[in-house]
Each structure stands twice: as structure tokens, then as C-alpha cells.
């Protein structure tokens, strides 16, 4: 058996065509850059995790198996270690207005302790990263992707005024507890968290440690993201994982869960070649920012909001059982190339292949029949509304 295709966006090394870390060859020769260890490294290994290189770290791709972990998270609660992500604390005079010059969110009107999804943009309106930013008084707590964090910090340092300071909170770990039972579980450990609504955050205390917890996540389920001092992370992970409704979940299931939830993954579904409008993330630009602009690439993005973008990110349901993965071509019914798959795989919840990709906007309507081409083989597919699996967020009243 020889591995021919290494795609699938769980692991950035696969998407680049280098040997999959689960490669029978042992991925020999792939570790050119020394990898960092997460605060929970030995915790993962003790629980049987298979560790793979990701974003410069050794990270758990799976424990008992991706499908079992995926389904467990949809039914109970899954504990994810996302400590590779960058946690930034940005402070200084008028940080909100300063951040608005880099991103299209309405930070001036952002309510205290309400995370906002936003996009770090380049001067052409291309996406440098997607992130969550939460006002804490006059300062902002920002969580960015692991693989892009150093570049993000460089961009921010270059573009923000000199009196705005970015603290990279390297001493903080980040855990996520996701699933319909997440609130029941976490409430037994950190009383009060169940009172948070979706996209709401607050400080908590646990065992003498400060935690910052937001009700948010990347699975489409209810859940929490917990910033904890790295030194306390193993004890907190132990306390959470001791609950019978909790299992540790690897990056593999994180990827299949977010794909079912229709959530884009930076470096695959989003990059500097895509704009917020192409990526169907118009919700991230509110009315005031649409009328005022004032963010990088605003002329292009405002025009795209008005007239549509030439390409659009869509979901695709693929006929048959074979997964169609990142890099496959999208063709119209006459065989003309109209786009590419940016994420694709087998949906454990739906038991069928699903994918996400960009198509010429005329083909973006739900139900549009398309063909996909992968390794010389054609697949029938149709444009499907996303999410593929309905979100089950814990919304309290109206929420942005």
C-alpha cells in the first residue's frame, strides 16, 4: 500500500502533500523544524493520543478514533486542547478604533465580554486570519489561529499605533469543551458557567486559578472555550475529563465537526486570495462598517457587498461514499472548471461525503448540480446549504 494523496485539512502537513503523520513510513524526514510541546503533551500521550505535527506543535490527532470521538462530541461532551492557538491581549489608548483599521468588525460598539468573530485583512481585502476578539473594558482579548499567530502579531505590530501593545499570552493554555452536555459538565466544576449565553464570556475562579471562559466553539454544538494558566491546565483537564460524559477529542474530529457545521478553516477555506464576501462571511461586517468603510481593502469589499463577488464559498453534498478532498476541481455540467474544493471529507454524522469549496457565483445556488474531479475520476455533487448539521448553540434572547 502506498499513500498517494495526503489531503484533508486537519493537519497542515497533509494539505501540502507531505507525508501524513499517520504514515506507515512514520513520516520520516518531515520533522525538519523542531516541534514545540503543548502544556498537555504528556496528558495526551497518557491517554493514548496519536500525536502529529500541526502549527509547529506536536498535537493529538486522535485517541480512540475520529468517528467515535466525533459522534461522542455530538451526543455528550468532548474536551479539546487548542493551546496552539494564539491568545493575545491588546491594550493602549483607543484600542477599539485602532483594531477597526485592521478588521471590519464594529469594535467601538462591541459590548463588554461579548466575543466577536472578525477577520484580519490585507490591503486588497484578502483574509490574513480569522479570529475572535472580546472587549475586556477598554482592552481586547483576541484568539487567533495557531499556524498564523506569529504572522498576525507581526502585521498588527506593524499597523497598530506605537502606543498600542500586544501581549502574546504564551503562559496560557486553551481548552474547549463542546457538546450538548458541555454545560452540565462544566457547571459541576466551575459553577456559574451555565449562566453564560452563546457568545458571552466572563472571568471565573477554579482552584485558586483565574480562568477566562467564553461560551463559543468550533463544532456547531453548545460549548465553552477556557483560557487557563498553562501550569494549571493538566489539573483542569483531569477534572473535566474525570466526568463520565467527557472524552478527550483530537484534531481529526475537530476538523470533521467544523466541516459539518459549515465553519471555514483558515489556510484551507480562507486565505489572502479570499475576501469576506467571497467566503460568505458578510455577517462579520455590520451596518456601520458597511457605510463607513475604513478597513483594509474596503473599496473592494464594499463593492463586493453591493454587487456580489465573482466567487463564493459553498457547501457540497457528494454522491456515493468516496470522500472528495481539498484540491479537487469543481466543474459545471459541461465540464468547465468553475472552482476548487477547499475542504472535504466523510461526514460521520451524515454517513456521507461532504465538502466545501469556491464556485463562480452563478453556480452558488442551493441545489445546483455540479461535477467534481479528483485523480481523474468524476463525482456528482450538488450545492447544499450550510451548516450540513444544524447548529445547536445556547442562545439567550437576541444575539448577534
Amino acid at each position: 500500500m502506498s499513500r498517494e494523496v495526503h489531503n484533508g485539512p486537519t493537519d497542515e502537513t497533509q494539505a501540502r502533500g507531505t507525508p501524513y503523520s499517520g504514515d506507515p513510513e512514520g513520516g520520516a524526514g518531515t520533522h525538519e523544524v523542531p516541534l514545540d510541546k503543548l502544556p498537555l503533551d504528556s496528558w495526551h500521550r497518557a491517554r493514548g493520543a496519536r500525536m502529529v505535527p500541526f502549527a509547529g506543535y506536536e498535537m493529538p490527532v486522535q485517541y480512540e478514533g475520529i468517528i467515535a470521538e466525533h459522534l461522542w462530541t455530538r451526543e455528550n461532551a468532548g474536551l479539546f486542547d487548542v493551546s496552539h492557538m494564539g491568545q493575545l491581549f491588546i491594550h493602549g489608548p483607543e484600542v477599539d478604533s485602532a483594531l477597526e483599521r485592521l478588521m471590519p468588525a464594529d469594535f467601538r460598539a462591541a459590548a463588554d465580554m461579548k466575543p466577536k468573530y472578525s477577520l484580519l485583512l490585507d490591503d486588497d481585502g484578502g483574509i490574513i486570519d480569522d479570529l475572535m476578539a472580546t472587549r475586556r473594558g477598554s482592552d481586547f482579548y483576541v484568539v487567533v489561529n495557531g499556524a498564523t499567530k506569529h504572522g498576525d502579531i507581526a502585521v498588527m505590530e506593524q499597523k497598530l499605533p506605537g502606543d498600542v501593545v500586544i501581549d502574546h499570552m504564551r503562559e496560557q493554555a486553551l481548552l474547549a469543551l463542546q457538546g450538548p452536555r458541555a454545560a452540565d459538565v462544566l457547571e459541576t466544576i466551575v459553577p456559574g458557567v451555565a449562566d453564560l449565553g452563546f457568545m458571552q464570556a466572563a472571568p471565573f475562579r477554579w482552584n485558586g486559578q483565574s480562568l477566562w471562559i467564553s461560551r463559543s466553539g468550533y463544532t456547531g454544538e453548545d460549548g465553552f472555550e477556557i483560557s487557563v494558566p498553562a501550569s494549571a491546565a493538566p489539573a483542569l483537564a483531569d477534572a473535566i475529563a474525570a466526568h463520565e460524559l467527557v472524552k478527550p477529542i483530537g484534531l481529526g474530529a475537530r476538523d470533521s465537526l467544523r466541516l459539518e457545521a459549515g465553519l471555514p478553516l483558515y489556510g484551507h477555506d480562507l486565505d489572502t486570495g479570499t475576501t469576506p464576501v467571497m467566503a460568505d462571511l458578510n455577517f462579520a461586517i455590520n451596518k456601520r462598517r458597511r457605510s463607513e468603510g475604513g478597513f483594509p481593502g474596503d473599496i473592494r469589499i464594499l463593492a463586493e457587498l453591493q454587487n456580489g463577488a465573482p466567487q463564493k464559498r459553498v457547501g457540497l453534498e457528494v454522491d456515493g461514499r468516496q470522500p472528495v478532498r481539498e484540491g479537487a476541481l469543481i466543474l459545471d455540467s459541461e465540464g468547465n472548471e468553475i472552482g476548487k474544493i477547499t475542504s472535504g471529507g466523510f461526514s460521520p454524522s451524515l454517513q456521507r461525503p461532504i465538502a466545501m469549496g469556491y464556485v463562480a457565483t452563478g453556480f452558488a445556488g442551493p441545489g445546483t448540480a455540479l461535477k467534481l474531479e479528483q485523480r481523474g475520476k468524476l463525482f456528482d455533487a450538488k450545492v447544499a446549504p450550510m451548516p450540513f448539521v444544524p447548529h445547536r448553540y445556547h442562545r439567550k434572547g437576541a444575539s448577534a
Binding site: 500500500m1 499513500r3 489531503n7 484533508g8 499517520g22 506507515p24 513510513e25 475520529i66 461514499r321 466523510f346
Partner: protein, 123 residues
């Protein structure tokens, strides 16, 4: 009957001039949850090293190459229908295809079972 293994993690069970071919237990474990398998049609002539079958897990797609030359006498429709059979019994019911050997001499130089298991430990 003789059992051989390749460095590509395939096994070949030879009975007379017929070889049954699959992927090793180590290979299925490395692939993880297998969600798709495609096996060759009966009558297809395969030369050594040619793509013969496809196996895909949640995370990876792989080709199974013919480790020896021959004509396909049977593809395992059970694994095509239920690819998880490769996870549960890779070296038994999860076989991919059977070949009528063109040249039994091609088996020379392949690993026997104990050599393969030792080699896998070293990976």
C-alpha cells in the same frame, strides 16, 4: 500456503498459483477509520506496482498497489460494501483482491511474517 509482506504494508497469502492481497493490521491502524474501499474488477490484468485498489480513511486516501503481477480472479465485494471490515479484520476478512500469479518468482525477496512484524516495530 505462504504469507508474505511488503514494505508498503501489504500482505500476500499464496495458495497454489493464487495470491490473496490485503493491507496489514499496522496499516489499517495507521489509517484510522476506513470509510471507502474500491477493489479491482475480475479479469483485470495487473502488473507489479500498478494501482489496484483504493482505501480511504476519514483523514487519508491511499492506493493499494499490486505487489506481484497477475490477473484478478476476485475483488472482495464485502469490503467495498462495508469498508470498516478492513479496520476490524485487515489480515483476514478485510482482504482486497485475489490474483492468479503470473510469475511466482516475484515473491522472492518479500518479507515473511516475523521479519515484517520486527520491521514494523522499528518504524
Amino acid at each position: 500456503m505462504s504469507l508474505y509482506f511488503t514494505k508498503e504494508h501489504e500482505w500476500i497469502r499464496v495458495e497454489g498459483d493464487t495470491a490473496t492481497i490485503g493491507i496489514s493490521d499496522h496499516a489499517q491502524e495507521q489509517l484510522g477509520d476506513i470509510v471507502f474501499a474500491e477493489v479491482p474488477e475480475t479479469g483485470r490484468k495487473l502488473s507489479k506496482g500498478q494501482e489496484a485498489a483504493v482505501v480511504e480513511s476519514v483523514k487519508a486516501a491511499s492506493d493499494v498497489y499490486a505487489p506481484v503481477s497477475g490477473e484478478v480472479v476476485e475483488g472482495n465485494s464485502k469490503v467495498a460494501d462495508d469498508p470498516s471490515l478492513v479496520n476490524s479484520d485487515a489480515e483476514g476478512e478485510g482482504w482486497f483482491f485475489k490474483l492468479k500469479l503470473d510469475n511466482p518468482g516475484e515473491l522472492d525477496g518479500l518479507m515473511d511474517e516475523s521479519a515484517y512484524r520486527e520491521w514494523v516495530k522499528s518504524l
